[in-house]
């Protein structure tokens, strides 16, 4: 349930998220991603919320996509293994990601 629709919804979130992410991190000059600037932003809760949503959207979208690729190209035992791996890995990455944003 929801899996496919959520992939499309996160896709749309990512368009907005990436736009913001790119403009801020790459096109607005170096001052924007100095250590101090990044830490300053990360202390704001609106920025935290944006990043958490962005992080989870990217993880869900990317790994749902990879899961689909495995569904189509892999059979038998390797398929079972990879499918499990593709659930565990994003959970681990979500943990790392949340650590960056919140702490």
């Amino acid at each position: 349930m929801w899996s496919w629709l959520l992939h499309r919804i996160t896709g749309v979130i990512l368009v907005v998220g990436l736009l913001y992410h790119f403009i801020l991190m790459h096109f607005m000059g170096h001052d924007n991603y100095s250590y101090e600037a990044v830490m300053q932003r990360l202390s704001e809760s609106s920025w935290k919320i944006f990043n958490i949503v962005f992080l989870f959207s990217a993880l869900y979208h990317g790994f749902y996509g990879l899961n689909g690729v495995v569904t189509e190209y892999v059979r038998g035992y390797p398929k079972k293994f990879l499918k499990t791996f593709l659930v565990i890995l994003p959970i681990a990455l979500a943990f790392f990601g949340v650590k960056i944003v919140l702490f």
């Binding site: 929801w2 629709l5 992939h7 189509e72």
Partner: protein
């Protein structure tokens, strides 16, 4: 005006040789003749062992689908004048080959069975028949013209990799009944097409639309199926 064409045909004769080979035939054909005419000429005058399916010879039975110059088409509907002088012919992709251009369609028809290809309506039938208005028929007109030749499903890269994928033809059949106003099995049908190897595996690649000899915009129908599924609460497969 007639002209010589070279037919390069992928041969598979398992009784003689377990491997495939390419045979070449030079055939003289006029501009009104089709690939099927060339094949018949070869079989009748050059090599009687050449094996292929045909029946109607007029694009209605769906038996002569094959890969012609890299793309699936009906041999009886492809004029040689529209092709280069060298015509490469292979069986439909991704299905087991029985002999030469004859493939085993069991897998293809089995997919069709999975989408419940018959009207389901438990209401007592009226005295004569379940009438369909012209407007209602119009909703499914395009999908009804399918001749089940198999060109679309075997042109789809998803099917090449995932043999369990329902594929364009069966999904089109599902559409044909889901959008039939006399049918009552919406839930059951959506259940059948929204599994792991169902409608969500379609990536709008459009290979099926490129090849359909009836010029059905199959992808358009599959996209409508996705929207119907979401509307009815089927928002993803598996899990």
């Amino acid at each position: 005006m007639s002209k010589y064409y070279t037919f390069k045909i992928k041969r598979y004769l398992p009784d003689e040789n377990p491997s495939t080979r390419w045979d070449e035939f030079r055939v003289k054909l006029n501009s009104m003749e089709r690939v099927l005419d060339g094949l018949i000429k070869i079989k009748e005058t050059m090599d009687g062992t050449l094996t292929f399916r045909k029946s109607c010879a007029h694009g209605v039975c769906g038996s002569c689908a094959m890969k012609i110059n890299g793309q699936n088409r009906l041999a009886c509907q492809t004029l040689v004048k529209d092709l280069p002088e060298i015509i490469e012919i292979e069986p439909l992709p991704a299905l087991p080959v029985i002999k030469d251009l004859v493939v085993d369609m069991t897998m293809f028809f089995h997919k069709n069975d999975k989408v419940l290809p018959y009207l389901i309506n438990e209401e007592p039938p009226p005295e004569r028949e379940r009438i369909q208005s012209p407007e209602d028929q119009h909703k499914i007109l395009e999908s009804i013209t399918c001749i089940m030749c198999g060109s679309c499903t075997t042109s789809c890269p998803v099917f090449w990799a995932d043999k369990e994928y329902l594929g364009p033809s069966a999904l089109l059949k599902a559409y044909r009944f889901l959008f039939d106003t006399r049918d009552r099995a919406t839930e059951q049908r959506l259940e059948a097409i929204t599994g792991e190897h169902g409608v969500w595996r379609c990536h709008s690649i459009f290979n099926c639309v490129e090849v359909c000899p009836k010029e059905i915009d199959i992808t358009k129908h599959i996209l409508k199926l996705k929207r119907l599924a979401v509307k009815k609460g089927f928002t993803g497969g598996e899990k």
